[in-house]
C-alpha cells in the first residue's frame, strides 16, 4: 500500500503545480492586457517580473514528471504525466507572450495613443476566454467544455488578420504612427498565439480525460464515449 500512496502524492503535487502555473499564466495575460488598455507602465513592468515564476514552474513540473515516468505509471496516470508536461510547455509560452504584450504596452504607454479603430479589446477578451475555458476544463475534468474551445480559435485568427490589415492600412496613411502600429501588430500576433496555446491545452485536456488524440484533425469530433 505504501507505493500507491507515494505515487498518488506525487501525482497530486503535479496537478497542483500545474494549477498554480495555470493561474499565474491567466493572471499574466490579464494584467498585460490591463496594462495595455489602462496604459499602466508599472503594471507592465510587474508582468515581466512575474514571468520568472512561470518559467520556474515549468522546470519543476518537467522534473516531477520525469521522476514519475521513472516509476512507469500506466493508463490515466500515464496520460496525466505526459499531458502535464505538454500543458506546462504551452503555459510557459503563454507567459512569454504575456510578457511580450507587457513590453509593447510599456512602450506604448510612453507615447500618445494611436487614433485607430481596431477590435483589439474584443480580441483580447476572446483570447482570455479561450485560455480560461481550456484551463477550467482541465480543473473541472470537463472534456466537452474543452472541445468547445477549439473551434473558437478561428475567430481569433480572423480578428488577428483583420486587425493586422487595418493597422497596415493606417500605417501607410499615417507614417508617423508606424512605430506604435507595429507594436500593436505585435500585440495582436501575441494574442493570436495565446489563443493557439489555449487550443493546444484544450486538446491535451481531451486526451487526458477521453484518451482521444484530436490534434491536427481540424474538427472537434463527437465526444468519444
Amino acid at each position: 500500500m505504501e507505493r500507491i500512496i507515494v505515487i498518488d502524492m506525487d501525482l497530486d503535487a503535479l496537478k497542483q503545480k500545474l494549477l498554480t502555473m495555470a493561474s499565474h499564466a491567466e493572471t499574466a495575460v490579464n494584467e498585460a492586457l490591463r496594462a495595455l488598455l489602462e496604459r499602466d507602465y508599472e503594471l507592465a513592468l510587474r508582468v515581466k517580473e512575474n514571468d520568472r515564476v512561470i518559467d520556474q514552474l515549468e522546470v519543476e513540473i518537467d522534473d516531477l514528471a520525469i521522476h514519475l515516468l521513472a516509476r512507469a505509471p500506466l493508463a490515466s496516470d500515464l496520460r496525466l504525466v505526459t499531458v502535464a508536461m505538454k500543458i506546462s510547455q504551452n503555459l510557459e509560452r503563454v507567459g512569454d507572450e504575456a510578457t511580450k504584450i507587457a513590453k509593447r504596452a510599456r512602450d506604448l504607454s510612453q507615447e500618445p495613443p494611436v487614433k485607430v479603430v481596431i477590435d483589439l479589446p474584443r480580441m483580447a477578451k476572446l483570447a482570455l476566454d479561450l485560455l480560461k475555458g481550456a484551463l477550467d476544463a482541465f480543473v473541472n475534468r470537463d472534456p466537452i467544455a474543452a472541445r468547445a474551445v477549439i473551434p473558437r480559435d478561428k475567430e481569433v485568427d480572423g480578428l488577428n488578420k483583420q486587425v493586422t490589415e487595418q493597422l497596415a492600412q493606417h500605417m501607410m496613411e499615417n507614417p508617423d504612427t508606424i512605430k506604435r502600429c507595429l507594436n500593436l501588430i505585435t500585440i495582436s500576433r501575441s494574442l493570436e498565439r495565446i489563443a493557439d496555446h489555449a487550443t493546444n491545452v484544450a486538446e491535451e485536456v481531451v486526451y487526458l480525460y477521453e484518451a482521444q488524440d484530436i490534434r491536427h484533425t481540424g474538427k472537434t469530433g463527437k465526444a468519444g464515449l
Partner: protein, 294 residues
C-alpha cells in the same frame, strides 16, 4: 456483461485453407500445415476458447471465459493473485488435469481442433502446446545437451544428426547457443538462473510446438536476465504463438501484443496491449493497471 471480448482485428478463421477436414476423421496429432505467415492476411486464432469454466472439486476457479489467442503473437495474461490466470494457462495444454479434482466445461480449439475431444490424449496436446514454468527446472541428472533433446529422445528420435541439429537450432532460438556451445556435456545445473530458464525454453522449443505457454518465466530472475527473456519472447513471436502469464505489468506492456485482464476467475477485459495500458475500457482494469488495487 459481455465477456466474449476479442481484439477487433481478430476473427476466428473457419479453418486453415484446404487442410482442414470436418471434425470426425481428422486425427488430432496431424498438425494442419501452418498457413504461411503473410502479414497482410487476417490474423488467425491459434487457440479459440469458448465458455471455459474450470472447477477444482466444488470450487469454481474460472468462470465462463471466452477469448481468441492470435497466432504468431504474444498474448499477456495479467491479474492479481488468485484470479485464475495460471489455471487458465494450464487449461490450454490440459496440465490442470494433474490435479485429481479438476473438471472443465467449455470448448478449447487449437487451430480449430478440439483439444478436449473424446479421443484426444493430453500427451498429444502437450506436444503441440509447450510450457515453460516460473522456476527453471532442467533435469538434474542430464547434461545441457541431453536436457535440450530429452523431448525428442524419449519420443523415439534416435538419429544423432537430427538430435545435434535440433540442439543447436533450439539453443540458438533460446539465445543460449553461444554461451553453452562448448560445454554441452556439462551438467545442466551448472548454469546460472537466467541460463537455466533459457535452457528450459530451448527444451520446450525442441519438440517444435505450435504454441508456447509461459508461466511467469522471468519472475525468479534478475533484471538483466529478465530483459534477455523479454527480447527472446519478441524474437520467438515470429514463429510461435506465445501466451505469457505475468505479474509484472511493465513486462506485459513491453513484451506483448494483446493483454487479457483476469479478476476472480473472470475475463474482465481483453484488447491490444497499448490500449489496455494507456486507456483501459473497464474501471477494474484501470484500477488494477494503475496499482489502485491488487
Amino acid at each position: 456483461m459481455n465477456l466474449t471480448m476479442t481484439p477487433e482485428e481478430t476473427k476466428a478463421v473457419p479453418g486453415a485453407p484446404a487442410e482442414k477436414s470436418p471434425p470426425a476423421p481428422q486425427r488430432f496429432e496431424n498438425k494442419p500445415a501452418p498457413a504461411p505467415a503473410t502479414p497482410a492476411s487476417r490474423p488467425v486464432a491459434a487457440l479459440a476458447v469458448k465458455n471455459l469454466s474450470v472447477f477444482f472439486g466444488k470450487h469454481q476457479v474460472l468462470k465462463n471465459v471466452s477469448i481468441n489467442i492470435e497466432a504468431r503473437a504474444v498474448t499477456a495474461i495479467i491479474g492479481p493473485s488468485g484470479c485464475g490466470k495460471s489455471t487458465f494457462l494450464r487449461s490450454l495444454n490440459r496440465m490442470h488435469e494433474l490435479v485429481a479434482t479438476a473438471r472443465m466445461e467449455g470448448d478449447i480449439r487449437l487451430f480449430d481442433q478440439d483439444i478436449y475431444g473424446k479421443d484426444v490424449e493430453p500427451v498429444i496436446v502437450r506436444r503441440r502446446v509447450g510450457m515453460v514454468f516460473q522456476k527453471s527446472n532442467p533435469f538434474p541428472t542430464m547434461t545441457i545437451g541431453e536436457n535440450v533433446t530429452v523431448g525428442l529422445r524419449l519420443n523415439g528420435v534416435r538419429n544423432r544428426a537430427v538430435l545435434a541439429e535440433q540442439t543447436e537450432k533450439s539453443l540458438r532460438m533460446a539465445a543460449l547457443w553461444d554461451e553453452v556451445k562448448d560445454r554441452l556435456n556439462a551438467p545442466a545445473v551448472s548454469l546460472s538462473g537466467g541460463q537455466q530458464q533459457r535452457l528450459c525454453i530451448a527444451r520446450a522449443l525442441a519438440v517444435q510446438p505450435e504454441v508456447l505457454l509461459m508461466d511467469e518465466p522471468a519472475s525468479a530472475l534478475d533484471p538483466l536476465a529478465t530483459s534477455k527473456i523479454e527480447d527472446l519472447i519478441r524474437e520467438l513471436r515470429k514463429d510461435y504463438t506465445i501466451v505469457i502469464v505475468t505479474h509484472n505489468m511493465q513486462q506485459a506492456a513491453r513484451a506483448s501484443d494483446h493483454t487479457a485482464f483476469f479478476y476472480l476467475g473472470e475475463l474482465v477485459e481483453f484488447g491490444p496491449t497499448s490500449q489496455i495500458f494507456t486507456n483501459p475500457k473497464q474501471k477494474r482494469t484501470e484500477d488494477y493497471v494503475t496499482g489502485r488495487f491488487g
